[in-house]
Subunit: 332 residues, 2 copies
Amino acid sequence: MPTINDIASRLGVSKSTVSKALNHADDISETLRKKVVETAVEIGYEKNRVRKNEAQKLCILIENMDYKNPTGFGHDLVLGFEQMAIPAGWEVDKVAITTEYQRQTSYDTFMLGNHYSGCFILGFSLKEPWMEDLKTSRTPAVLYDNYIPQNPLVAYVGVDSREGYHMAVARLKSLGHTRIGYLGGGMESFISKERYLAYLHAMEKYGLKTDAGLTGYSYHISECVRQYLPVLLQNHATAILCEHDQLANAVMIHCTELGRRVPEDISIIGFDDAAFSAYTTPPLTTIRQDQNALGRCGYYALTSLLNQTHIGSLLLRAEFVERSSIAKAKSE
Amino acid sequence: MPTINDIASRLGVSKSTVSKALNHADDISETLRKKVVETAVEIGYEKNRVRKNEAQKLCILIENMDYKNPTGFGHDLVLGFEQMAIPAGWEVDKVAITTEYQRQTSYDTFMLGNHYSGCFILGFSLKEPWMEDLKTSRTPAVLYDNYIPQNPLVAYVGVDSREGYHMAVARLKSLGHTRIGYLGGGMESFISKERYLAYLHAMEKYGLKTDAGLTGYSYHISECVRQYLPVLLQNHATAILCEHDQLANAVMIHCTELGRRVPEDISIIGFDDAAFSAYTTPPLTTIRQDQNALGRCGYYALTSLLNQTHIGSLLLRAEFVERSSIAKAKSE
């Protein structure tokens, strides 16, 4: 296993310089420090995970997700993670990482340079540069709603979308719906793809047909409701599954504007059970994700990876929450 | 929530009789005790999980699996589970449950009657009577390589078969194989179905065709090798994935008897990395399951369920172990 000596001889500097650079000493320039850390990553140097006189550190990397506001989507994910990690003696940093920063610094360099033993990653799209780094990275990472194949040091936690949509489609079918449509986010997100596949899977399982006129997806909610919703309605959809509650709420508002009553003319189901979902008009039927439990599982998966137990995926049960946005299918 | 009083009034006996029956007192007949426990289960009575002066108990239910012998398939599963549970203060019973017993006593009755807070279930086929009970049971259970839909008190742990076969098919394709066959166990096992689907999925992913002449499955290894193996060979299979290592070993022996050399004429890949798999002729290429890690994860999933964290599935990474049973495809 490569040592500090190997870094020193590679760069032609002393061992103590390397050590100082790795430990953020004041008398080392930022340029030299960066060179040392990059060389360390390049040759596969790994610090001892537990060092003297210093707290062990984990970080939560967050992109595109509000976690500060108690009603924010990421709030309880972060809370659940911290509720497990902090009592166990970890220091936890929450770090927002821009795409630009990811381009300049590799994931392993960032983690090693900041003494992080592992991280919990929230809200990354498939296009983030570090998603590529994670395929071969050596620092344990747990991704919420994101999957990296084959790297045993990366795990995925989330809610079982397939089971959620199975329950939703089963319930709609029992209410007489057969023309069930789907509206979702863009395909640059792992979970958007996953939900779309879950919809197709559920429709097939319950013997219901689907076609291009019954589905639409776009990263932009406005495009989903303006461009695709009218097409679904034209194609006689009597119910629509939406990838998330925000989209479902926009769809309900737009249906009303288009002169369709929810749920009398059209049934709508969301996904997430967000803080606002019990208070929409009408209250939204949805599939619950327990964000706090997901945060706790994120921590467990990370400690498993740190202890050489290579969890690949950990899925929580989905829970079907029926409110007033669904009803019997209207007979033609 | 139903109490001891409800059981007593339902049966027309005193509260203390019910309490004695639930606590295995000597002066209560077995017939009365059984009636009390069955009534308790029927009305949804749940004991306090933690009782005074008594160890908390978990059990491992085992069918069709050797765990006493260190090379037995279940040995490290049990060991990993106990290595977590016993230091945490649990008493762990290992119980072999016959199909006959399952028919006479419901799962919840057994668990409540024996004061078990939860269980880890190994080796059950889909036909075991309790697989039906588990769909609605109220006592937490973690199943190894078995899945129960929608009951939030039941979780599944296993190794990711799809990822395993993706790696296997990718490697075989890189060696020039296109006619890749599959031999598996019968369809009365969840994991047998799962592996078969994983094979189809991997073939599709790598753009390889499959057909009925390339696949065979039977609960009996002898039938697999005598009936199906010759068909696969006739249909120009140059490589065969086998559902587990025991089958793969039998296939290798039979190939030799049929005058085909492994790996020169045909490549064979197993699944499990059993204790004997490094010592077959030739040493078997396979996909490793870390049984000890699976046992540890079984315990974690069970404590999560006991703490209202509803894990549905937890999959460990598969690891591709290349030995000498695969080689370049023979050019025709």
